[in-house]
Symmetry: none
Subunit: 376 residues, 2 copies
DNA sequence: ACGGTGCATGAATCAAGTG
DNA sequence: TCACTTGATTCATGCACCG
């Protein structure tokens, strides 16, 4: 797990087992060039924020704030940052599968430039997600609002990509059965999760919290997917991907970060298959034609179906169509017609009388499906 | 109030009384050209979002979503939108005072382009603010996260502007004595606040809620300041500015919107000077001890206080503490104790009988505070 | 005057599979 | 690529109406 690959050994190698679940050491764009076209399912990118810090910042007690002033976060100008951003985004886009999606996280210092560039490069923005921090750093000078959030952009490769992965039902189930919103609340990375060096100092200045990555990965990937992180740092993406039964590829320049990430990922225990099973909606269940209900005898030709309030009714015909008012058609078409609508889900609209109460025919479809499941 | 000015009458007139508190009818950039250099203290801009909607969207009940499909939101391309954005931002920058600040609101469709352009034009970003909606529209198809927020960018005219207005202490005091964060929670504009035409339909598709504007204006302007809104719409900025003792200038193209805004603003009653002074004071709201109420005679030793439903009661002692069931303590400690809780806000928990009804003692604190305000 | 039910609606880049 | 079919999909709030 987490082999470290020297960049020179890679030349757009197609065999995934040469680079999957490894950290490629080298410059981000050069390393991306070594990966094959359309080879990763998702990308999580935490690029340098281009913080434009003037002098040092002191707390009210005069202690010095340990700001992000590393070499890799220094850009001479917006133009230089744009050139850098365009290069790594383009390289990512080539490597991403046509139905893959990309996440980029940033703050107000850089996220507007990144988002505009993504639009310029034909990524299609799906959402912007706000990470609200429960415990953000205060604003010490009292000259601005406390900067209490960061922004993530989630985008598909292009506007036409319709079948990207989004585990809507699992997210909703995990969120008290209401759909997941675009504002997420998580603590910053601290305590035992925060990697510290032998000197007790944090290894990386902007280590992201694992729960944040976990939601990203659970929302937009499937088990077994390959997730690329072109700014791997201390490997939060890799650690969470491994724990959640996904694969990763990391790109990182600094040996200290690579060392920390390798050890970290090696210690991760993946979850079992049962725990990883994602709740899915009706969409993913096998298709059942209404005629199957007729053929199996669950409903009978001549039987009357009605809507939930018995305002309209129709008769089942032997070919699996319905008839009412001299018209006939599928359960969906006729359901739409009797309501004067363009569309209708006949499975939930039409009901049958079980002797006591009206029940949707969708329940009979479930009976068929459970019978099919037993054949597995 | 809210005179409507034909654009032709204005030629960078310096005398502010010719355009202050009026709505200029005309194209945004052309109208901005008519205003003098460095003439407004703050700008709030709600530009078109450039939504690129495909076909129609239906709810699960097949009803049609009333989308924003107005002509003013149609742009041929990102490039066309950028040209438009650059033009109005540049014009705003000339009109803004050197120490003025600008707010721009948008969604993920446009805010990244706007933010990047602002940086390119040398605005200096101070914060990005997230407006979290309590009641956003759901995502009906379950293909994305519910889009539950919009983003505002707050920026000064340039990096060197250090003495912009930011009422840090007033914001902190209004926020339970912790500094105001970058994520704000407000409902969308609906109910009685939402302007409706004679046909019962909304006058403007994107009317912003007044509390949002109130926080913007209270945070970044002083009483008497001039606030420009280059996309005035139905005049939320003007209405809130007038109520809060500020001046406004609006620019709007559509006569229907101008008519609605004029009538709306005319009906606004400005707050009194005392109320505004309290709200904008540099110090936090003065702390009032319960004993001050006793000393001032608003409550009397021996008087009985109870909770809102008369389930528990306590007696006021001369030293400003309460006693009940053989225990005594502050209004907060005793309130917590009688409820079996760890903490309690005694000001809102305890009520007194004014002869007709039970009223919270917090109202008596307000009486003390307004008396203190009159001493200013 | 209430409480309960039903309905309308808000800045929305909102489906997937088959032939 | 287009046309057509199948059938999946919503949260909070305000207001009208009714008993």
């Amino acid at each position: 797990m987490a082999a470290v690959l020297p960049l020179a050994d890679l030349k757009r190698q197609v065999a995934p087992d040469t680079w999957i679940n490894s950290i490629i050491k080298g410059d981000c764009v050069a390393a991306l060039e070594a990966l094959p076209d359309h080879s990763v399912d998702a990308i999580f990118a935490d690029p340098p924020y281009n913080l434009q810090l003037g002098g040092n910042l002191h707390r009210p007690d005069q202690s010095l704030v340990d700001a992000v002033d590393d070499d890799w976060d220094q850009f001479a100008s917006f133009e230089a940052y744009d050139v850098f951003t365009r290069a790594w985004l383009l390289a990512c886009r080539r490597v991403l599968k046509p139905n893959g999606t990309i996440w980029v996280i940033g703050s107000y210092h850089n996220i507007f430039r990144v988002g505009a560039m993504m639009q310029d490069l034909n990524f299609w923005l799906l959402n912007d997600i706000v990470w609200r921090k429960t415990n953000p750093m205060p604003n010490f000078k009292g000259r601005r609002f406390q900067n209490a959030h960061e922004t993530m952009i989630w985008a598909s490769r292009d506007a036409k990509a319709k079948s990207y992965t989004f585990n809507y039902d699992a997210l909703k189930a995990s969120n008290d059965d209401v759909q997941m919103r675009s504002d997420w609340l998580f603590p910053i990375c601290s305590g035992g999760e925060r990697l510290k060096g032998e000197d007790g100092k944090k290894v990386h200045p902007t280590q992201k919290p694992e729960p944040l990555l976990a939601r990203v990965i659970m929302a937009s990937t499937k088990p077994g997917d390959v997730i690329l992180d072109p700014f791997f740092g201390t490997g939060t993406t890799g650690a969470v991907a491994k724990r959640l039964g996904r694969n990763f590829v990391g790109i990182e320049r600094e040996q200290d970060y690579i060392d920390a990430a390798s050890a970290r990922i090696a210690a991760v225990e993946p979850l079992g298959k049962a725990e990883l099973t994602v709740m899915t909606g009706k969409k993913q269940e096998p298709r059942v034609a209404f005629n199957t209900l007729v053929e199996s005898g669950l409903v009978k030709p001549g039987q009357v179906l009605s809507d939930a309030k018995r305002r309209v009714s129709a008769i089942i015909r032997a070919d699996g169509t319905l008839a009412a008012n001299g018209e006939a058609g599928s359960i969906h078409r006729l359901g739409a017609k009797v309501q004067g609508l363009d569309a209708c889900n006949g499975w939930t609209f039409w009901h049958y009388d079980d002797g006591k109460t009206l029940r949707p025919i969708d329940e009979l479809r479930s009976v068929i499906r459970s019978g099919m499941a037993k054949l597995d």
